[in-house]
Symmetry: C2
Subunit: 534 residues, 2 copies
Amino acid sequence: MEDRAQIQEHIKTQGELVRRLKSEKASKEQIDEEVAKLLQLKAQLGGEDGKHQFVLKTPKGTRDYNPKQMAIREKVFNTIISCFKRHGAETIDTPVFELKETLTGKYGEDSKLIYDLKDQGGELLSLRYDLTVPFARYLAMNKITNIKRYHIAKVYRRDNPAMTRGRYREFYQCDFDIAGQYDAMIPDAECLKIVHEILSELQLGEFCIKVNDRRILDGMFAVCGVPDEKFRTICSTVDKLDKMSWEDVKKEMVNEKGLSEEAADQIGEYVSMRGGMDLAERLLQDQKMCQNKQACAGLSDIKLLFSYLQLFQVTDKVVFDLSLARGLDYYTGVIYEAVLTQAGLPPLANDSQNGASSEESAGVGSVAGGGRYDGLVGMFDPKGRKVPCVGVSIGIERIFSIMEQKAEASAEKVRTTEVQVMVASAQKNLLEERLRLVTELWSAGIKAEVMYKKNPKLLSQLQHCEEGGVPLVAILGEQELKDGVVKLRVVSTREEVRHTPLHNTRTCESSSGALHRHSCPETTRFLKDNISKS
Amino acid sequence: MEDRAQIQEHIKTQGELVRRLKSEKASKEQIDEEVAKLLQLKAQLGGEDGKHQFVLKTPKGTRDYNPKQMAIREKVFNTIISCFKRHGAETIDTPVFELKETLTGKYGEDSKLIYDLKDQGGELLSLRYDLTVPFARYLAMNKITNIKRYHIAKVYRRDNPAMTRGRYREFYQCDFDIAGQYDAMIPDAECLKIVHEILSELQLGEFCIKVNDRRILDGMFAVCGVPDEKFRTICSTVDKLDKMSWEDVKKEMVNEKGLSEEAADQIGEYVSMRGGMDLAERLLQDQKMCQNKQACAGLSDIKLLFSYLQLFQVTDKVVFDLSLARGLDYYTGVIYEAVLTQAGLPPLANDSQNGASSEESAGVGSVAGGGRYDGLVGMFDPKGRKVPCVGVSIGIERIFSIMEQKAEASAEKVRTTEVQVMVASAQKNLLEERLRLVTELWSAGIKAEVMYKKNPKLLSQLQHCEEGGVPLVAILGEQELKDGVVKLRVVSTREEVRHTPLHNTRTCESSSGALHRHSCPETTRFLKDNISKS
């Protein structure tokens, strides 16, 4: 632990920093962060008694999961994993951090959001920002040229958190990717099929999967007269169309990014287009678009994609939307994003400021996204050998928020344990008997518990069951022990079902060892029968 | 990305550092680390073409899990989680990092192994070192006074890795803890019961659970004449008895730590003692020991503990061992550690150097540990309110290593997917039919896949099944389509089981929509029947 003098020195420096930032009129966010650090240091110094005081919180943008939240999380994961497995995926895992340079140059402007580790000697490390780059590194490192895998793990972004709406700095991604040289659009279509299955099964309400293609975007920019070097930056402005009105997007293009008004208007025409296979066919006939080779290739693929989506029976939810432009640098072909469209979702903080229309604000219900990235693995291969990849990432935090709200609203109680029987006693001095019986139940695979008291009150044992949703109580009492039976009580109805021989006397007599004496198959069989009934 | 000039500057400074360390004869480890960093920087600079080259590796002391390793990991986790649930535990999760100060002052000398995050503005953060301190922080923060929870997650230690033997810098812990004011030794005994169940179920061979008590250790040091201020340091020397001979331990006590030879010899007598309840009873009569209040309290509790362990039927594996002295600062009462005692475990790198006897080297097969920590939660509470806790942590990496070796040695192939049926075609141009059928199977909950080629060869489809252990293939061919049937083939026996109507013609005629036309309950029912048989 640092000593007081050192901490006091830190506090002094930090205080000066805060004052300077304030005088320089630095951003509120920056000042807040440095003030937080100052308070943290002061707390570390403690009160006048010198006692160390703790700031009792989790780091900014993170949270604990309590048992109820974990129960919901487990349910969501089970649905997602079942789907991934149904589609034949294997799973892998990678470390939470990577060499810093592994992440360098993959995320464009977002690289500033990467968490770095302190240089404590040795390698320079960063926390993973997504699961896609580690996956590409894994493929290149192990020279894997085809695999269908899922990966569920936490990723880290030093973004501005909006926690009540499910935006965190530490959050889960559930990724499914198909790597390999295959015929066009078949794996791409399966990724969309998977999103469709998962969102349907989770019953999150209406949703829509927007589809576009990086090549169509680039072709569109070209034919609208956007200079080559402005593709990226104009693309990132288009990407804001789910949060901003077209007027504001156009303003940004023209005023901030120096695009001609004419070019912006042409883009505006295209990005308002939405449709299905018909739209792809129409654009293939579009005089301007069909001049561009890239755009044509993209449009033909979209057409092919929709033919497979028809066979997969998911076209009801998929929309070809030319305004979709995902930010990440590494996409090379088809891109997609799933959004929840049903009303009743809490809006994200940013939206109200931007005066987004109701249709557009629905866009922030984004819960999955992905696309094709044929160049990423090659970036890691010493010889640049490419492995074509396509994948999808399900964003879980927002889904959790919705499921949590649903659970709150529902009358049904979320159980946080799976206990089937509580072994209770009606009188004092029966701890030994309780421990013996619960041991029998455990070895029979029954989920059971006892209270950790020598002489718990029957009422408090029953209350524990009611609170935790434990369906059955096996009650031991002096009379029962005398009669050699156990009383079984159904908690919900308070009905006492039946008595059963607790110890088979003949077995007892014929055996000698303590271990054998208490084994009582009849009791456990009786309990098992009643558990399956209850 | 940093520009070349900056990187070259870094390389220069780093090169100087390495040269200086070498001239100063710094430790090999330190030099290696700095050389690694130098190479990393050079690689970043790339070849003469200026092309960025990547070091293709995971950070030191970490690893990826490939699909086969994940399949084994899943199996181990399932066993452990089932046991935790059988004992009625809830589960929680906490962030991978904590405020730095949350971890400060909890780990004694080991604090230097904590990973810190870089100060990028905002709070100072560290990666969690174990799951116990975050658990205590969670309890204090949420004012929880009793809970039985498990938590399975990765923790981080900048320790010297020995990866082939399962010692990593990123590794899993599976923790089960009981917090709350209960009657003595009942929850403690359940923790040992849980270790016993898990290690038995995993079939890792013979094991032994050593038990001791922090109060007995302290009492022993007191009656042997160890000065108060030397308790901690002498205790950490005793802790090395599982890796060093008593002679070496004594040497360290006397020569390095300045203990009198007489005191050391007295300690030597005690720490050679091993037994069960009988030993606790004998030591309660021991003239010296029974003078010490702390020691007496500890010994009485060990006696009580063994009485519960008898009821739980686990005394066969539990040994009261006075040489057990776990390092962590926060233990206050009973402590325990489970070790695998069977021969055939690969020894850890350090052991051979220390000339450990075979019995002692078995000690490095430590796979679980824990104890009582009644003061930790109070360290986080502003008013110091205590919540008594006891828990156990299962170390998974070593168990994985053993399970992996077993899987390698076994003839049985580890499957990495759960695919039940491959939908294949015998001729060209049947992609549409394959996609239709696999869609049906998915919606019936059958795990199925198709190859992502328009015209895959039948042989390569069958090979894929043999390699991946897919038990069944549904084969579509022109003849089959004409006859309206599907051929089902058992991969292992190459037997072709039966034909079934592929499309019910009458249903087709009566319906009109494309969606309805291809739904074929008979096919899926037939496949389901055959899956359950295969």
